[in-house]
Amino acid sequence: MREEELPNTLPRPEGELEGLRRAWAPPKGFRLITAVNNQVIGILYIGAAFLFFILAGILALIMRTQLAMPESELVSQDFYNQIFTVHGTTMMFLFSVPVVEALGVMLLPQMLAARDLPFPRLSAFALWAYVVGGLVFFSTVFYDLAPKGGWFMYPPLTLTEYSPGHNADFWLLGIGFIEISAIAGAIEIIVGTLRTRPPGMTLARMPIFAWAMLIFAAMIMIAFPAVILATMLLEIERAFGWPFFTADKGGDPLLWQHLFWFFGHPEVYIIFLPAAGLVSMMVPAMAQHKLVGYRLIVVALIATGFFSFGLWVHHMFTTGIPSLSLGFFSAASMAVAVPSGIQVFSWIATIASSKQRFRITTPSLFILGFLFIFTVGGVTGVMVALVPVDFQVHDTYFVVAHFHYVLIGGMVFPLFATFYYWIPMASRNMLSERLGRWVFWLMFIGFNVSFFPMHITGLIGMPRRVWTYPSDLGWNTLNMVSTVGAYILAAGVLLFIIDLFLRYRPTMSGGVGNPWNAGTLEWLPGDAYSSRSIPYVTSREPLWDQPNLSRDVEEGRYFLPGAPTGGRETIVTSPVDARPQYIIRMPGAGWSQLVAAIFMAGFFLLLSVKLVVPALISAFIFIIACIVWGWKLDHGPDKGPVDIGAGIILPTYMSGHRSHAWWAMMVLIVVASSLYLAYLFSYLYLWVVSPEVWAPQGSPDLPGIFWPIGTGLLVIAGAAAITVGGRLLPAPGRRRAAFVPVFGLGATCFLAALVAEFWGHWASGLRPTMNAYGAMVYMASFLNLQVIAACTMLAGFSIARYLTGKLDNVRRVNFENAAQFYYYAAAQMLLGLVLLHGFPRVAS
């Protein structure tokens, strides 16, 4: 692009850069905990996740030491059960997913040259909720309160009869709530990736890591609600005796396995895909060659994301499922190897296509190590996808070896490559290449020495999760070798930590430049505001294809070189072809998200130990903090449109379907729908298992038909009143007396519908503890209660905004959010009515 064609001219106005710096300066000292800048949150988030990796790793070393020799009594059997449960749970929930989200928060805005993700306080909220909840959960291992049911917590072992005490509750409530934090992060990532790309960066020019994060976040939206529902069902059964999983009352423990693995298997790919995305970013830089097969890698990411939802039953091959079902899931389990293979071949082709020698650096070594280890894990994955092989090795150390090859190979090795590759972007020093090579070789050798023998240990019969074993089974040497390997692996990690302490010096001022000569935007010179101006992107490797880009961006020649509204802002572009649409004004540092996170964690954790009143007080403070947080988000259109360069004038306020708030609410609705679909599956599944407890034969008669009809009419009337309320919003500065009563009437109709649905069943004599049918019926009311409670709060918030003159027919985002969720609530309630009142009548 010729100089005279750039969007902005030189010299830039005096004070423009200072204004930008002032707007984005993070708070100093202890107030840093109120920061929301993605670079601060990203570093803290990665640091917290890495801490959990170390803690869970220490538990692994204790386990390996216990298993090094037969008949060892280093730890008690009960404590061993606790530490293998906490090890798995921490690695999966407190390390793998959070570290990937953290990398998304840290890297995505830089790769997209956005000033920040669109909801910076949501990222900060996700971080603090996770840190507080995670630390409390992990600490249970120190005072004998840790769960003992394995990371998958199968009932009936985890029902109150077999797991009394609070241990299992910590898992159920703690993990359930940490998943809410993960969903908050996913919303941020989806809206950020689709709406804050730089002008010109169409979907076809998006970095592979952004594609991977988009699919990762979409998978979280679909997969996590299933396990959230499962944890709700199990906790309710433990606390109140609703028999979802108790076989003699029509429940089924296998329901838990279906819900858990519908989350649990995609979870593997939720972890792997972003790691693969990171590899796809690093390989071209190390090869100094564009990624071979960009479109095939996108295909592979999409296909893997989808196929991963068709594999969950392969964790249940030995549970007595019909043969043909085994065939479907065996086929899908083998099919998913194809897209994974595509990626591996693509990386190899990129390395082979390089005109110069592939640079062997520490990141390259970790990538090559990843390719070897992950491929071995993939091959054993195809082995266990074969039903007869799975029958043989199920619940043995062969499976332990397989999934560690996949997870450590597929995620931890790319993560260490990432540390070495991207730390120069956020540190005044690079990490040591010499130490880095030691770290790699110790980890690579240690890993293989530790986990390869486990294939054999498993094949000769050693089951998983055993505390100790007799000395005459031929497992002694293999276990000793595995333990030695684990310590070598740990030495590698320890050396990395030493290197980190010696050389990592965080900075937001661009680090050490672009040491790998990479082609993507995160290597633009930058500061707390990301890049000085937001570039116009014409290819996938802009720094390679636009030689003056760094200089022009730094001089402020591209878009939005200052802070025209005086605050934090970035450009929102269209989702497919990245045309600028408006300027989003973002909040700065604040306490509200921090307070909300701490007290939300407090609510769940206090509930775990049945301290109901303190839990409710905590919930109340959480809600107040959310209101304070939300109150300042809608700035309104008072700043007017701004010129971002090239004569493009953009509004600084947007409502309707282009607004980022509308998008976030739609994503939230998808999450809520996934949860409800998981409920529908559970209802129908239990009916297939135990039709004999269903009404009208096995339970009291259904409420008369006027109950669902009346309830449905209330829901429809409520939705209609909400719609009319929207049309009654007055022009700015005006009042319209009818708005509050009409909108309030809509909200009241929904509340009345909720009560009517509950009361209809109660009056029929049905009770939730009676059998699985009763439990399922009242669970629908419970799920509706959650949605309506959220809607009611949004409605109250909108009315308060209206009464204080902050809601009108232009400044209407708060109302739109409430209305969107009410419409969803209407759909959910009507579907529930059809299911609960129609299905038993038809099925009987």
Binding site: M1, E5, P7, L194, P199, G200, T202, L203, A204, R205, Y294, R295, L296, V298, V299, I302, A303, G305, F306, F307, F309, G310, V313, F317, T318, T319, G320, I321, P322, S323, L324, S325, L326, G327, F328, S330, A331, A332, M334, A335, V338, P339, V387, F391, Y536, T538, S574, P575, V576, D577, R579, P580, Q581, A646, G647, I648, V688, V689
Partner: protein, 127 residues
């Protein structure tokens, strides 16, 4: 005219839903097929239906889902136009390739799963 003229018309952006459907139609149909065959087959077996009925259902569902997907793969561009995607859209060939390859992979997945009905006795317990 500069490259920025295009950026001044945010209303010309293609529909994100159309693009989503275009890119995901193959995997979407694969998901539909798996849901159909798994749920119907489980239901038939649980209610004491015959293995033949279950296998027949699976084969019919496979044919009904694979047929339209094959048609979409063959008439890729026409399908895109049907969704309102302009042939001159920037990056269109890349979107075409992504859609085509995901559809081909999905078709293979559908046929792979469906083929199980021809090999395995439907309602026999796996273990």
């Amino acid at each position: 005219m500069t490259g920025f003229d295009d950026l001044r018309h945010p209303d010309k952006s293609p529909s994100v839903i159309a693009m989503f459907i275009y890119l995901m139609i193959g995997p979407g149909l694969w998901g539909l097929h798996l849901t159909l065959v798994y749920s119907a087959h489980t239901l038939i077996c649980a209610l004491g239906g015959s293995s033949d009925l279950s296998a027949t259902f699976v084969l019919i569902a496979t044919f009904l889902v694979a047929g339209p997907l094959l048609a979409i793969i063959i008439m890729q561009r026409r399908f895109g136009r049907l969704l309102g995607l302009d042939d001159r859209l920037s990056g269109r060939t890349i979107y075409d390739a992504i859609s085509r390859f995901t559809s081909v992979l999905s078709l293979a997945g559908i046929l792979w799963a469906g083929a199980a009905a021809a090999i395995v006795t439907s309602c026999a317990q796996g273990r």
